[in-house]
Symmetry: D2
Subunit: 143 residues, 4 copies
């Protein structure tokens, strides 16, 4: 899949793409980056059986993982290394096997020591989760 660069420095873009591709947790869950811009990131999966519970519904853990990935990479789009402090997710609707699930993260405030972000998770046209997180700023990304 082509990843859209919505205007960040190309070297940072390459760094983030490579980092996500080399993250084993994303590989095992088939999570990939689809878009990144200054303070925003979008990650996506086509849901597969590995994401489900015995009822064929997508496990909440995957939804939270996607939301965290979208927000964490929105932080990195600013050239900041962030570590998640707290993440809170509301589950609005279930999602089912086969649906395309996309989390869109956005930085709300980037401070010297803390960064705040928000994410929405969509299954196609349906909003399935609302998530927010805070991150500790642990330094500048060097690439």
């Amino acid at each position: 899949m082509n990843v859209i660069n919505d205007g960040i420095d190309d070297k940072l873009f390459q760094y983030i793409q490579k980092s996500i591709a080399e993250t084993p947790y994303y590989q095992v869950l088939s999570i990939s980056l689809s878009r990144i811009g200054a303070g925003i990131a979008e990650v996506t999966v086509t849901s597969i059986v590995e994401h489900t519970n015995p009822l064929g519904l997508i496990h909440g853990g995957l939804i939270m993982s996607l939301a965290d990935a979208a927000m964490g990479n929105a932080v990195r789009s600013l050239g900041i290394r962030g570590v998640t402090v707290d993440c809170s997710t509301a589950f609005l609707s279930p999602a089912a096997l086969g649906e395309q699930i996309t989390a869109r993260g956005r930085v709300l405030k980037s401070g010297k020591s803390l960064i705040f972000a928000h994410a929405e998770v969509w299954a196609g046209e349906k909003l399935i989760a609302d998530s927010k997180a805070s991150f500790a700023n642990t330094g500048t990304i060097t690439y």
Copy 2:
């Protein structure tokens, strides 16, 4: 691994064990049940490379998945089908590849329509996450 039954009905115990073993999301992440009692559940993983980010640290998504699994199964230990409404997790310390990670969930209140639970996640002797969740009561488990 032997799963400890801390006093729930044996048929319910068999049902929950089978359900967890048949959950593809738990299989892909190697999450397994280690203990269940009335209103409590403990799930565990030995962390493997599939749980990590490129720094060799355990991804927050795995920690949230474990916490949700521990609380969700604490709800099921009461014979209740629960659907996660909201889950909030604080990340106290990082965990590293190879550590045994255990989430202990506990039901705080089981109401007619809503159930509230709390979980702690431990890497060995170190508390790494504090989590809470609410669940919608969607009926009685039949087994």
Copy 3:
């Protein structure tokens, strides 16, 4: 202050205005409704010494109270009696004595048993808090 009705039934509008005016907790904190529409509500205070800590900063409890009030009344704008299940607030920036503080709540999903909402809290032009909440649907408002 004039309260703006952004298009809800006038009787419901009167009911909500009266209910807020008669809520002792809002009276003691000088919280008032400024706008309500279908699925949205805005509440506001001009911060006074009663809202502060000894440093003259606005106490987080007031911010959370405003966010909850904005989301709870966004739920009521749909003619639904809601009870807060869980409320989570991130504090992006401090606010100081004398600032006009406004919380804008919005319903994200209104289900048969659960309603999900989101709120932003502003001190003038500065976003100071990001909040989300879930509510139990306890029936229809009769007026």
Copy 4:
């Protein structure tokens, strides 16, 4: 009411007591400290009409204010100035006018830049809320 000092330095104890007594937000809501020890704090109110909604139930904003106060003062019991980063509260049961409401806060982890805490809120013998918060460490209390 007598405030119990569970073993912190007496000068810090005097400092915290004075600070709470001089906090206008606590005065207007009649919130007072009842106990403080190393990493723990307990705050309490006897609920009065100013805490209620038109149904005579205690407003969620008061519950969240109490939880935040208990956790914030548990942080201060360690000699640390903390600023709330994120606070999340689950509402397990309603509380009614006239009940004694007590929040018990406890520090889970005190790090160099972040502190994590947890609180339970009780109305008499009934657990009514479960709350967790993170705080930024903004320095040492001097007294």
